[in-house]
Symmetry: C2
Subunit: 466 residues, 2 copies
């Protein structure tokens, strides 16, 4: 396997441009084909959320390619969830009891542009825009593109093809429709869709509400969230059922009804959004889906990575971080010195898939947690106890959220198994009175640790898989 | 909704012909289109397993249409699993501690022919053969067929269309490819495939091995099973990985290797199969897949039922029973007197999908149980205890297997939740010594019941879904 091999990457989004940068650093000849125009030259809507949560797994990947110092200026720290109740009262629920554990709001476009620029600094990396992939012949290792400039189709030949072309991946579609091998595949849609709205900047780029938090208006059946941007604005997202409940996307069809809905449930947010109605009717409503599949690779010819392999819902703030971690994990396998791409792809998928399956499931769980659980007394009591554990015994306890978000050296699956067992232990011991929040904190921590280990051991003996 | 409505059923397999019979009994005008020739006139391989397990949920459906007396002569009772170890030693592990709880081996063809004949006794039911469905226009409620006799395509118009056209359903494909609504869909393949073999009848139609059992040669990585037929033969099925392990379907390519494999692992079975090599190379190797999807219906126009809606792997012996139960459950919703098909379809899916999802997962679990767990001391000890409970306290205890198989008035999901909790309780109490099989049986039953309830309650408090 020589470095002179020609690698084709389909898609120059966040995952594809990071992969191009890393493979470029390793010396491969890399060609990247991107369907959109160059976002550094043309002002385009990325068609996806404007800002994203960036946390430790993403940071680890930025360190791998040595550009963390250029990424940090794009970040706005969010220390916790700012919970807004229906009366407009707020409380800040920190993400961790450890001061240095927080997530960041980052601009998708800003980060993607940085990655493109860094990748192109390598002479062996060439990025082409306005080239849409139509299909991949994974047996021949060729891909068919449509050139949006010339309007012509062309075939690109490569030694190996990586598809980082997102949730609607052309390679994944070719795997599915090709029926050349047994391809396991799932697409699961939530009953809820989403629509992006905005809180515009205040005077002189000031923030109209608290800057350093992820704001949540959780209303059980639906919710609104807001993340800050560098220019003083917030990107606001409404998650709402398409067709269930008194208010849903299908029946919010007039200005009056939209205002009535926001007056009733999001009064304090509405006051910050005089532009609500325009945003509501101008911006699209999009579905929320989870995609899983296997195998990701065909022999040593082609490999799916990022959202193309595992699209997830946004509720854990891990979509981008998981895709970046794909590159970190793939790089680790490259370091192992295998002699052919087929072995590399096999080892990578065997290591990685259990973790991307886990974060997909965790993200669904968090949908229910954010919409409703955050308001329940039991849940708040559990979180308070966990904050105290993390503060007083910082090396001894990490909540599920912390295991997933701030422990980049623990895989998502292990984080899920331990995190769920901890939640179950605490919620049950609070319910049956075994745990009293007024008791000594150290003895409470010991109770939780012991009960968590019991739960994991009971599951192991019963042979349950999760 | 008048009875004069024209109902089109696509597929006259087990589910479609039962549905035609039931809707015929209820007075609807029913047209059925089946792609294969009439199996009562032409000797065809059904292309699927020759015999099947028939049990209480299936019996309930046969009672609904009043033909159980005609079905019973087709049945061979199987009282338990006959476990064959590698030395050829056998032990019969009963399915239940209750004498009257057993499953039956039944001929797929014999049962399907009976259902066709019964359905056709109704003047308002018309079945057409050699008509393959190519696609369904679910918005117009029309289906496109190819007539294998005339070689022509034609469109069939109906007031409502039921697709009972199996795992490769044309309607399901039209839902998926149509992209007219958010269609959640999964196909999951096991690493193992299967191949049918046979033990031929002895002299005068005698049985060469014990007739009244489901024979299992479980070898952890693979397994062989055998079910009896009325003519003295057994249909034998080999479940084996396509490409993993020392022996797999991809490398069993010569007569010598096949014989070596059977000599080594299935010696006592090989002695009954002088025809093994011919069967092995004549019969196809087929994959094992699970299909789930949602929604099953489009408005009040079309509905998926049976394998078309939920194809499962065969390891719980519930595929046919689940499809028959679809008809029972659908019939129950018809009795509720809703005014339109859309409501009927919605209520049916809301009631039913949780149960077909559960049996799909249970069937995967049983793959691991049959291949390997049945040989483990822990598992055998658990089963012995459960047999004793069922024998001594027949009204107070049912194992997971019994809940799923012999309790037709408990849904699959409730059977799964209680059954899994019982298994977990027993395996853990055996492991930690809380349960001693030499203790008084009544007190052991109380321990198991209490611990099972604790497990279910802990899961409920933790908000875990399964």
């Amino acid at each position: 396997m020589t470095k002179q091999q020609n690698i084709l990457i389909i898609g120059a989004g966040l995952c594809g441009s990071l992969l191009a940068l890393r493979l470029g650093q390793r010396g491969y000849n890399v060609t990247v084909m991107e369907k959109r125009p160059d976002m550094r030259k043309v002002d385009i809507s990325a068609g996806r959320s404007i800002n994203l949560a960036f946390s430790d797994r993403g940071i680890k990947a930025m360190n791998l390619v040595g550009i963390l110092d250029k990424v940090m200026p794009l970040c706005i720290p969010m220390k916790g969830r700012m919970l807004h109740d229906v009366e407009g009262n707020t409380v800040l629920a920190p993400y961790s009891g450890r001061e240095d554990e927080y997530i960041n709001s980052i601009s998708r476009g800003g980060l993607n542009e940085l990655l493109l620029t860094e990748a192109e600094k390598h002479d062996n990396v060439n990025i082409h825009f306005n080239k849409k992939c139509l299909s991949v012949d994974f047996e021949k290792t060729t891909a068919l593109f449509k050139d949006y400039d010339t309007k012509k189709e062309f075939i690109e030949d490569a030694d190996v093809i990586f598809a980082t072309d997102g949730a609607g991946s052309a390679l994944r579609k070719s795997y599915y429709l090709g029926k050349k091998f047994l391809f396991s595949f799932s697409q699961d849609w939530l009953s809820h869709g989403y629509k992006e709205l905005s809180i515009l900047p205040g005077e002189n780029g000031s923030y109209k509400t608290f800057k350093n938090a992820l704001h949540i208006w959780g209303r059980e059946a639906f919710m609104l969230i807001a993340l800050p941007n560098l220019d003083g604005s917030f990107t606001v997202t409404l998650f709402l059922s398409f067709d269930e409940g008194e208010y849903n996307f299908n029946n919010l069809t007039t200005k009056e009804r939209v205002l009535e809905f926001f007056e009733k449930y999001f009064k304090d947010a509405l006051e910050l959004m005089p532009n609500l109605v325009d945003d509501f009717f101008e911006n699209p409503t999009s579905p929320l889906g989870t995609v899983k599949c296997s195998p990701w690779h065909f022999k040593g010819n082609t490999l799916l990575m990022g959202d193309a392999a595992h699209a997830i819902v946004p509720f854990y703030g891990q979509g981008m971080n998981a895709s970046f971690e794909d590159v970190t994990e793939f790089d680790k396998v490259l370091d192992e010195g295998h002699q052919d791409w087929e072995t590399i792809f096999k080892v990578y998928e065997a290591n990685r898939k259990k973790d991307t399956d886990a974060i997909a499931d965790l993200a669904i769980d968090n949908f229910y947690e954010m919409k409703g659980h955050v308001n329940h007394p039991n849940f708040r009591e559990k979180r308070n106890l966990e904050m105290a554990f993390e503060k007083e015994f910082p090396t001894e306890y990490s909540s599920k959220y912390s295991l997933v978000t701030f422990n980049e050296d623990i895989g998502y699956r292990d984080a899920m198994l331990r995190g769920r067992a901890q939640d179950k232990a605490i919620l049950n011991m609070l319910a049956d009175g075994t745990l009293n929040i007024n008791d000594d904190l150290k003895s409470n921590l010991e109770k939780v640790t012991t009960e968590t280990d019991n739960i994991l051991e009971d599951d192991r003996i019963a042979g349950l898989k999760s």
